[in-house]
């Protein structure tokens, strides 16, 4: 049985040292696959790591910057084998990343996500509330990352109910009707972090709602909530106060590394599943850092074979935590601390030209 097969059965149960060795082997294999099949990947590796780098540890593995997917076509299978192209959400004004999936990689993505979600949701599909608008799913052939996230999670639910209207306002009647249809048993709520906070929790009003039977899964990052000074602890506290929600699992992932889903366990820390891992690197030297030191997050996953997304340097800052003896879940524990700031513009070149206001 391959690491992947075992990981699918129990993503957080494989002992660390065993996982590390097998994952490294799997990643080296995937690296060679992409070096042979994807010319741009081979060029990046050769330019930065030489033609035949030694790959003795996970930290030796070459990595690509996530931004590369915005400008270059990175594909390791013929175009005819591509079944889906995922686009990243990106920030305003940025180009979008393009990620090419063949049937095999797409299949692994679905299986991986299912395996991880089963650990917190159980085996049966749960009645599912989606904190978004139905209109978000408009483009099926080329879904945005937000749509892809929703579609992926919909596999774990039934009676999928979109609780926001096209203006992203809470439809209270829709929520109440959903709760009336399912008066007993566990529920699933899914949405993007900023929408869950502002359009569900923030919109429930003084009387709140009884969502205590729900498991809330949310993702998308804390950046938009930084301005309001809302962190994970605040989010959890208010979700419980206003909605009675106790089972909350944030997850961290990115469109550029499909299937890599890092789920928050019960102690509020993100955990790497058996087929993925996280390395923190010094922002200046890009050298690997030990647990406890914060730096730039690199994510690794042996899942992507149709495109070279198995080892990526993100633009996020994070820190790996020391392993805790006797922890329920096996896997690297880490936290995301924020984004790297964008360039400070200096020098004579000045790009602030757009948007000059004129009196009418």
């Amino acid at each position: 049985m391959t690491l992947f097969d075992r990981a699918i059965r129990a993503p957080f149960a494989i002992p660390e040292d065993e996982k590390r060795r097998e994952l490294l082997d799997a990643l080296v294999e995937v690296h060679h696959l992409h070096a042979a099949a994807c010319e741009p990947y081979r060029r990046v590796v050769t330019a930065h790591w030489g033609a035949t780098p030694t790959l003795a540890t996970m930290a030796d593995l070459p990595f690509l910057p996530v931004s590369l997917f915005k400008t270059e076509t990175l594909r390791s299978v013929p175009e005819a084998e591509v079944v889906s192209v995922v686009r990243s959400s990106g920030t305003t004004g940025d180009r979008v990343s393009q990620v090419f999936l063949d049937r095999a990689t797409a299949g692994r993505q679905v299986a991986a996500l299912a395996a991880i979600m089963r650990t917190v949701l159980g085996d049966r599909r749960l009645p599912m509330l989606i904190v978004d608008a139905r209109e978000t799913l408009a483009d099926r052939r080329s879904p945005s990352a937000r749509a892809a996230g929703i579609l992926g999670l919909m596999n774990f639910g039934r009676d999928h109910t979109f609780v926001l209207d096209r203006e992203l306002e809470l439809q209270r009647d829709v929520l109440d009707a959903f709760l009336a249809r399912h008066p007993e048993g566990p529920l699933l709520i899914f949405g993007f972090t900023f929408l869950v906070w502002s359009r569900l929790i923030g919109a429930l009003g003084a009387s709140g709602a009884d969502l205590s039977r729900a498991t809330l899964i949310h993702s998308g990052g804390w950046k938009k909530l930084e301005a309001e000074k809302v962190d994970n602890a605040t989010f959890r506290r208010v979700a419980q106060e206003v909605g009675g929600i106790r089972r909350i699992h944030n997850f961290y992932g990115m469109a550029e590394q499909v299937g890599s889903v890092f789920l928050e366990d019960t102690d509020g820390r993100l955990c790497a599943p058996a087929f993925a891992d996280v390395i923190i690197r010094d922002p200046e030297t890009l050298a690997p850092l030990p647990p406890g030191q914060s730096g730039v997050v690199q994510v690794l996953s042996c899942l992507p074979t149709s495109y070279p997304g198995h080892s990526l340097l993100t633009e996020d800052l994070g820190v790996v935590h020391e392993a805790v003896a006797g922890a329920e879940w096996q896997g690297t524990r880490f936290s995301i601390l924020g984004r790297l700031p964008r360039t400070q513009l200096r020098g004579c070149s000045d790009v602030i030209a757009a948007g000059v206001e004129r009196a009418p």
């Binding site: 741009p40 990947y41 060029r43 990046v44 050769t46 330019a47 930065h48 690509l64 910057p65 931004s67 590369l68 400008t71 270059e72 990175l74 922002p283 200046e284 030297t285 890009l286 730039v296 340097l313 633009e315 790297l340 700031p341 964008r342 360039t343 400070q344 513009l345 200096r346 020098g347 004579c348 070149s349 000045d350 790009v351 602030i352 030209a353 757009a354 948007g355 000059v356 206001e357 004129r358 009196a359």
Partner: protein
């Protein structure tokens, strides 16, 4: 409100009053004295000692230089020619580097002009510091400060329109996008633009000199090169972004090795800039994917080196923040084929002066503006981007009796 700084609301009235002020004669003694006081103030203030930008400014406007410029302004080629101030100058410095405005403002002041300077609220701390220096130097009731208006505003088309319509010369420190934007405000029909737009600068190092130099000589070179590269996070128009290794291809490898070794020895310290290595890597990876860059050395966070094809479509792409792209050329003739309009500074080390002088006409014709020794890339000069700032700030009147 910062002393000396005028708000957008006050600006139209203050402009009216400014225009009632006569210009001064070019090269006036009290202006020379004022600029000298500014220079001395900067050099003597312990709080400003480590401010590279200001110290460069102070050095540029040191007494001997200013006196020479003033003398030149006062002299005319013949008794039938009279040089007078151009009039009102509207200065638009780069948003994040307000120090640049002092250069064009000082030349305008020396020429006797009135000035309106737009300053962005985003760089308020820096602006306050600069104005404080000028005010402390003090220019009296009839001095250059009395003929100047420093206005703080962000994006205000109507103020840009007003100042553009009322000036005789508009000085825009770029880049190209800013120039296009400001040019949406029409000038008075008799007025002109002086523009400092997007420019590209590079460095040429002689391969034989690199291979044959002593370690001490290379250490000195690296110190100067790092000074040129690290200032302004390598984002200034004069910051060298490419290095041409001049000489036989076979010696390029050993030359790069000696340069790298000297870089490793260099004690130059630089404060880290958050995220720059991730951004540099993003750039080198993109270029490598396209086949434009290879052989990237990332060991030294101060300066990354990479081999980069200068003559390909991505030859002028760059990330800034401490990256030099190296290419090899056999002769100056080959290098001349790289140069085009929009290039600015070529810094050099180890190249035979005769070879440089011979090549310079062709380099200049191709588009190059200036050629300086490594270490002086960022030193401002009155001859900048093809302009003679003294001539720009004045006009000539003729008389025949």
């Amino acid at each position: 409100m910062t002393p000396g700084l005028v708000t957008a609301a006050e600006a139209p009235e203050r402009l009216r009053r400014l225009e009632a002020q006569p210009c001064a004669p070019p090269g006036a003694d009290d202006t020379v004295a004022f600029l000298d006081r500014v220079s001395q103030l900067i050099r003597r203030d312990p709080a400003l000692r480590s401010d590279g930008e200001l110290q460069s400014l102070a050095f540029h406007f040191r007494r001997a230089v200013v006196e020479r410029l003033a003398a030149e302004l006062r002299a005319v080629p013949s008794p039938n020619l009279l040089r007078v101030a151009r009039g009102t100058v509207f200065h638009v410095p780069p948003t994040n580097v307000p120090t640049m405005m002092v250069y064009s403002w000082a030349y305008a002041a020396l020429a006797g002009c009135r000035s309106v300077v737009r300053l962005s609220p985003r760089a308020l701390d820096r602006t306050t510091l600069l104005l404080d220096v000028l005010l402390r130097a003090g220019s009296g009731e009839a001095g250059p400060l009395a003929r100047s208006l420093f206005v703080s505003y962000a994006r205000d088309g109507s103020l840009n329109d007003l100042f553009s319509r009322h000036c005789d010369l508009r000085v825009i420190w770029g880049g190209d996008a800013s120039i296009d934007s400001i040019r949406r405000s029409p000038l008075h029909p008799l007025a002109r633009d002086v523009v400092f737009g997007d420019r590209f600068s590079f460095c040429v190092l002689d391969v034989a000199a690199l291979v044959g130099a002593t370690d001490d000589a290379l250490d000195a070179l690296v110190a100067r090169l790092l000074g040129d590269v690290l200032a302004f996070d390598q984002a200034a128009c004069s910051s060298p972004r490419r290095v041409f290794l001049l000489g036989p291809a076979a010696d390029a490898g050993p030359a790069r090795q000696r340069l790298s070794a000297a870089l490793r020895r260099s004690p130059v310290v630089q404060d880290p800039v958050v995220g720059r290595s991730v951004r540099r890597f993003s750039f080198t990876a993109t270029m490598a994917a396209r086949g434009a860059v290879g052989d990237v050395s990332r060991d030294d966070p101060r300066l990354w080196l990479a081999a980069g094809d200068a003559f390909g479509p991505d030859g002028r792409e760059h990330s800034g923040e401490g990256l030099l792209l190296l290419d090899q050329v056999e002769t100056m003739d080959t290098l001349t084929r790289f140069v085009r309009k929009g290039d600015q500074t070529m810094s050099h080390w180890g190249v035979d002066p005769a070879v440089l002088r011979d090549a310079f006409p062709a380099l200049a014709a191709a588009g190059l503006c200036r050629c300086v020794p490594v270490g002086r890339s960022l030193q401002f000069s009155r001859h900048w981007d093809g302009y003679d700032l003294l001539a720009e700030m004045t006009r000539l009147a003729t008389v025949e009796t």
